[in-house]
């Protein structure tokens, strides 16, 4: 049941983040059914987390550059601060375990999809940029949180890695709430 839903949800979510601003048209997404996120091992999961964090940091830097909205700036700074912190802790844990994160199909898919979002962000300005950025942040956090909660945490074997992901999930759910507040304020 889970193995096809998560990739589908991911693809739909990434597609939806472009569809939400209806004036700009949808970005095509491919559905990858090759492997299941639930089948990734701890080191691949760590790699996905690191990749997802870096993508959000990248989006945030674009927002700091292109937006003049103070709420967007405050949110973007928090994304940089929090995702950098989680990355540092993840790397330190991997060091301690004497391991490195392993590249995998899902990290590659996240990066490929992110390129399209980045291209879109860099084509927008003003209020259109703000709305697109905020909506994408909401959708992105929803998709990644679902992945972490349902596909990763139940399947992580190492207790310390699991604890870090559980702490991370709490933070990212907070980000999701914050993104929701931000989108609602922009809609007024």
């Amino acid at each position: 049941m889970k193995s096809y839903i998560i990739p589908l949800l991911l693809s739909v979510s990434f597609g939806a983040s472009a569809c939400a601003t209806s004036d700009e048209g949808a970005v095509a997404q491919t559905v990858v059914m090759a492997s299941s996120p639930a089948e990734l091992n701890d080191l691949e999961i760590a790699h996905v987390a690191y990749t997802a964090d870096n993508i959000d940091i990248r989006y945030a830097n674009i927002a700091l550059d292109r937006s003049s909205n103070p709420d967007i700036h405050a949110f973007a700074q928090t994304m940089i601060r929090d995702h950098t912190t989680v990355n540092k802790l993840a790397l330190a844990l991997l060091d301690k375990l004497g391991a490195s994160a392993q590249d995998n199909f899902l990290s590659q898919k996240l990066n490929a999809d992110a390129e399209k979002i980045v291209a879109k962000l860099e084509s927008l300005s003003g209020n259109k940029f703000d709305r697109y950025y905020a909506t994408n942040e909401l959708n992105y956090h929803m998709a990644v949180n679902d992945l972490v909660e349902n596909s990763f945490i139940p399947n992580i074997e190492n207790e310390e890695v699991k604890e870090l992901f559980e702490a991370g999930l709490g933070i990212f759910k907070g980000h999701q709430e914050h993104a929701k507040m931000m989108t609602m304020k922009l809609d007024k």
Partner: protein, 137 residues
């Protein structure tokens, strides 16, 4: 304050009596006598101690763990960050601000009549809480 004056008067009296009494001279140090007076007095234990309270609010799992806290003027409130990411505790009216609290760091605020009561985390604006000023004595 009244308690302090009563206690000090009592103390002065006792020390005076002890000093004036040839049987007491050199028998006990004044410090031991003070301790005995304090321990023996059931209603004045800790009378020298500040009557204000200190509270701790943990910042944990992206929440101020006490959403509402009742405080009096002169009380101290300490926020401790138990999360892995930095937070702040910042008055909505900007009358006080913890600044960045990294994991494990803390900030103590002493309550005055001017203390802003509603506060939030500057970094995570969905995190909100408040203090309630109790003006009774």
């Amino acid at each position: 304050m009244r308690h302090k004056i009563y206690f000090l008067s009592l103390l002065a009296g006792m020390v005076g009596i002890a000093a004036g009494n040839p049987d007491c001279a050199g028998a006990q140090s004044p410090h031991k006598e003070i301790a005995e007076i304090r321990d023996a007095s059931p209603t004045h234990v800790g009378a020298i101690v500040d009557e204000h309270n200190s509270f701790i609010i943990e910042i944990y799992k992206m929440k101020f763990q006490s959403k509402i806290m009742s405080v009096r003027i002169g009380d101290k409130v300490t926020w401790i960050n138990r999360d892995i990411v930095p937070h702040t505790a910042t008055a909505i009216d900007k009358s006080w601000d913890s600044g960045q609290l990294k994991a494990g760091e803390k900030y103590t605020l002493t309550i005055t009549s001017q203390t802003g009561l509603d506060y939030f985390c500057l970094y995570h604006r969905q995190m909100k809480a408040k203090l309630v000023l109790d003006k009774s004595h």
